[in-house]
């Protein structure tokens, strides 16, 4: 019993904030617009990130290579640089969106100006990173994010039409472009690459070896599975409350409304608190991912465990990415809008960072007996096909729906 508890805590800490602002925005909008019809897309994306993360974690543990090491080895300098540039741009947008999300939640809690909270939020993140060890950071945001299970409680409290909910898990392709756009969006929000890049570097920060492979699999399945459960709950509760009223959620605060309705002020505070921890964790994950990717591609010393003195360029680049994120968040663009772009562009760039990991994970010369077996290989290639299709469809759908405006 004690070991199960320990494993569970480890999983929760490993993922460190299961949802980010992209999940919150896209899942809530998907429920409001299409009720339960996009649940299958959430599940598809959740399995996708579990597959990608398991492979990346396994590659890191067995060969000591994080994702952008793999990318440079497999794609070479030219295409690797392209992947780096695309990935960095997306990560920057993501950092900005998450910082904006932190500021919005703080504004909702304390009613002081948004721009002030962007800066104080960023400062708080820097302090947390400076003062806590890597594992501590992950535990803080992981446990804090668990509070968002109030959404699951709300779903059961409101008791929706479970038959209709079940029906939503069956894939269906409505012909409307808005629906297709949300298929891409919901999937992409679940499969944000920065999460996986952070996870694979984290494996090396924690000194993983082949002995950690079981842990890696558990983290991937259960850790991201928890995120999937929360995402599903968001779609359901949004479909239950917002769809009949025709509400179009365009603010982060709207995400918490169902919890206020069901459980009053307590529900509201739990929801906002959970959102704060999830988005805060995501801000750290995405900013770190940007620095990891840059340092690993160029061969610099890197890692939180090294400390700023041994890895000065890595540390400095992290601060620069935070500053750029602050600048974008302050630019006056609604963070919810920035989120939409970061999610859509991330799926466009996804094939470039996914394929090298898939190839190395199946390469015996790198992985010896831990290379992809039949199931992992099949899943890996199926998802590559799905990712390519969605990456090609993403921008045309974004333009056709006017940025999800319909």
């Amino acid at each position: 019993m004690k070991t199960i508890f320990k494993i569970a805590l480890g999983i929760i800490a490993a993922i460190g904030g299961f949802l980010d602002i992209g999940d919150l925005v896209f899942n809530t909008q998907a429920g409001a617009l299409f009720r339960y019809d996009l649940l299958w897309a959430v599940v598809l994306g959740t399995i996708g990130i579990a597959v990608y993360a398991e492979m990346s974690g396994r590659v890191a543990a067995v060969s000591g290579r994080p994702v952008f090491d793999v990318i440079r080895m497999r794609l070479g300098f030219g295409f690797g640089l392209l992947a780096l540039i695309a990935s960095t741009l997306v990560n920057l947008l993501t950092v900005a969106a998450e910082l904006g999300g932190i500021a919005i939640v703080l504004e909702l809690l304390f009613d002081a100006p948004y721009s002030m909270f962007v800066i104080t939020g960023a400062i708080a993140l820097v302090l947390i990173v400076a003062l806590l060890p890597f594992g501590g950071i992950e535990r803080l945001f992981g446990y804090g994010g668990l509070v968002l299970f109030v959404v699951v409680a709300t779903v059961f409290h409101q008791n929706p039409d479970w038959g209709a909910v079940a029906h939503g898990f069956v894939p269906s392709l409505d012909s409307s472009t808005l629906y297709l756009y949300f298929v891409v969006g919901v999937f992409a929000a679940a499969l944000m690459p920065y999460e996986v890049h952070f996870y694979s570097s984290g494996a090396i920060e924690e000194g993983w070896t082949e002995e950690n492979l079981k842990e890696n699999r558990l983290n991937a399945l259960l850790g991201y599975g928890i995120g999937g459960v929360l995402s599903v709950a968001l779609v359901i509760i949004s479909g239950y409350l917002f769809h009949p009223l025709g509400v179009e959620p365009s603010d982060l605060g709207t995400v918490a409304l169902p919890m206020q309705g069901a459980f009053g002020e307590t529900g509201l505070l739990l929801a906002l608190g959970g959102i704060l921890f999830c988005v805060g964790g995501a801000a750290i994950d995405s900013s770190f991912a940007a620095s990891y990717n840059l340092a690993q591609f160029l061969g610099w010393e890197w890692g939180r465990y090294q400390g700023p003195r041994k890895a000065p360029r890595f540390t400095a680049s992290w601060l620069v990415f935070l500053l750029l994120g602050i600048a974008i968040a302050q630019s006056g663009i609604n963070p919810v809008e920035i989120t939409e772009y970061s999610v859509v562009f991330s799926v466009v760039a996804l094939p470039l960072t996914y394929l090298p990991v898939l190839l190395i994970a199946g390469d015996r010369s790198f992985m010896s007996e831990h290379a992809n077996g039949r199931i992992a290989s099949a899943l890996g290639w199926i998802y590559f096909a799905v990712i390519v299709v969605l990456s090609l469809a993403a921008i045309p759908l974004l333009l056709a729906t006017n940025g999800g405006g319909g």
């Binding site: 070479g76 030219g78 061969g299 010393e301 700023p308 000065p312």
Partner: protein, 119 residues
């Protein structure tokens, strides 16, 4: 993987992470020097000055503008093959970074690194 035997130069050596004798990360194999007939690896080449070589036409011109010309000893460094100790998941060198002129970007003695607030 033994140094004297066969290795897939592009698949496993090029773009590989380099670590010095103390395990510090000091760059990647940006290019490889081959000499003789039949060609043998005589050195590993490291540095931003080498990036334009790895890029196609128009990108190379842009990169050359940014990184400047190849200045050996500064943005292009040569590691003689004899200084390579082992090849596994990184290229491990026999000597420390300073002895080979590597890892200056992260070197606490460099002026810009000294100016960082925590140094």
């Amino acid at each position: 993987m033994r140094r004297e035997g066969e290795i897939y130069v592009v698949h496993r050596l090029l773009d590989e992470q380099i670590c010095d004798s103390e395990g510090r990360r000091v760059g990647r194999v940006d290019d490889i020097e081959l000499r003789g007939n039949p060609p043998r690896i005589t050195a590993l080449l490291v540095g931003e000055g080498l990036y334009p070589r790895r890029l196609p036409g128009w990108a190379a011109r842009l990169a050359r503008r940014i990184s400047g010309p190849e200045t050996w000893g500064s943005n292009a460094l040569r590691i003689p093959w004899e200084d390579v100790d082992d090849l596994s998941s990184t290229v491990k060198l026999r000597k420390k970074a300073e002895d080979l002129g590597l890892g200056e970007g992260d070197d606490p003695q460099r002026w810009i690194v000294r100016r960082l607030p925590w140094n």
